[in-house]
Amino acid sequence: MTHWFALIILGILKLSLLTHSPQVLAAPKVSGFINAIGGYATERPTLGYPDDELTFTRDSLVGLQVSGHLAEKISATGQLVARGQEDFAAEAAWAYVTYQLSDAAQFRMGRFRTPFFLYSDFLDVGYAQHWISAPDEVYALQFDSVDGMDLTYNQSFGRLDSKIQMYFGSSQDDFTLDRQDATFDIRLREQMGVIGTLSYGWLTARASFHQATRLSIENFSELPLPAPLGNIAGLRNAIMELDAAYPLGADGQFLLGHLGVQDVAAEFSEFAVRMQWTHFFILGEGTLLTFDDSPLAKQRRHLISTGINWHKVTFFATYARANDEPVDLASALEDVPNTQDLRRVLHRLTHSLALESESSTIGMRYDLEAGAAFKIEITENQIPQNNQSNLVRFGFDLVF
């Protein structure tokens, strides 16, 4: 996708240089942000940080944005982000063209951040947020950019501001399953969503609904499983052999239909409320993600965060929880003799695809000056059958 970015940057620079009417078109604007964050976990690898070792790569990143007007109503924006997690290799986070249809309506085309969450639009910009990073439990969707188009419409009713955004597109990404050391290639086709936001003074409420009619994880059959099965493909073979020896009927069809992620429908809904006064804020956000005919769990996640700020200091506390409901595949073999081992594998598989995690964080943000903040946080994380672990993180967030 880097060609998108290159094209847009070239477009911005070229057209700005060629323009002979300086009063209309301003020079391209360059802005950027840096998150320099270090952290260590006390007991076990926690939220992406190894234990007993101070590391600086997980949440650190550098972003650079170039935007400019190609014509009075047409602008282009490109954003490059280099993440510590990916060895600071720069990638085109976004690149899109905006057409201002009117004061109230805006049309965009290109690659942009999928507006799943309240903080999606500026998720990489640590400075724009009170915490070091939005809680992993909720802000967990790894396919977070979409290639497509969107339409945004703003309307005010007195002091009540409303915004409706609709998008359509597709996306593709590599991702790592929670607690599985394997990388998968996920593709979403015919992805669409609608987002409504209402704000009135101190109150902002947001609701969104997204769906993809065809979601596939291309190499899902390679997901490792204990010997002798080896992987999901091995598990499917074992079930087909079992079906040949002992006809499973509808249960067999159900199992085979659920042991893959190929062109399944997925739905995601989100609701958030944020209340912000001069010295106090509180926000809550809840999400629900469901997949049809796959072993992937129903993901139920929520968070609540509150803080007070006085002059340059903000103290905050956050609680986040993932409470996924695993798909039940094992009971399809309940009445079949000599299938305890298979049922155990199915049970473990579906539970490993469901996340159960609870995190409580307290932290402080200190604004050094406009554009630079120092933050420190301590998170207590709890996952089943594991020790509680603490994660300490600190660092600087800058914008320029």
Binding site: F33, T98, D121, V125, R159, G371
Partner: protein
């Protein structure tokens, strides 16, 4: 009980002080003389300067501008009208700049330049220290601040 009364007295005293200082008006919200609007609430001004709306309460289109960081009037304006610290304002705009959706208003480095722009731009909304106001612009509201000139 006695302690409570003292606290109450202190509260009333503080309130009186606050009200008293509000009498000194220092920042003028100014517009183009042809603007039919005659007054503007601070809450509506805040929404316009934060670009939460681009329309005056009467529905006419508004274009806003700020003074740059070097100006003392800007600092007072950010605290008294926007009800924010400069860090909070920077954080507010960071949310929009990096989504390509919106940009902070244009900035002028001097009050003279701001006045000239407001006088020449129908629908303009800016601000000046009251001592910088002349007939070329129309005052919609004055707001108290701690600036001494």
């Amino acid at each position: 009980m006695r302690k409570k009364c003292h606290l109450l007295k202190l509260g009333v005293g503080l309130l009186f002080l606050l009200l008293n200082s509000a009498a000194a008006a220092d920042i003028a919200l100014v517009t183009h003389p042809a603007n039919p609007l005659s007054t503007l609430d601070v809450a509506d001004a805040r929404r316009l300067f934060l670009k939460q709306t681009s329309e005056f309460p009467d529905g006419n289109h508004a274009t806003v501008a700020m003074l740059s960081k070097q100006c003392d009037v800007r600092r007072a304006f950010v605290t008294q009208v926007l009800n924010m610290s400069s860090s909070q304002l920077k954080t507010y705009w960071a949310k929009y700049v990096f989504t390509g959706q919106n940009r902070p208003p244009q900035e002028f480095t001097s009050e003279a330049a701001m006045r000239q722009w407001v006088a020449a731009t129908p629908g303009a909304l800016g601000y000046l220290h009251v001592s910088e106001v002349d007939d070329s612009v129309k005052v919609l509201r004055t707001v108290a601040s701690e600036i001494h000139r």
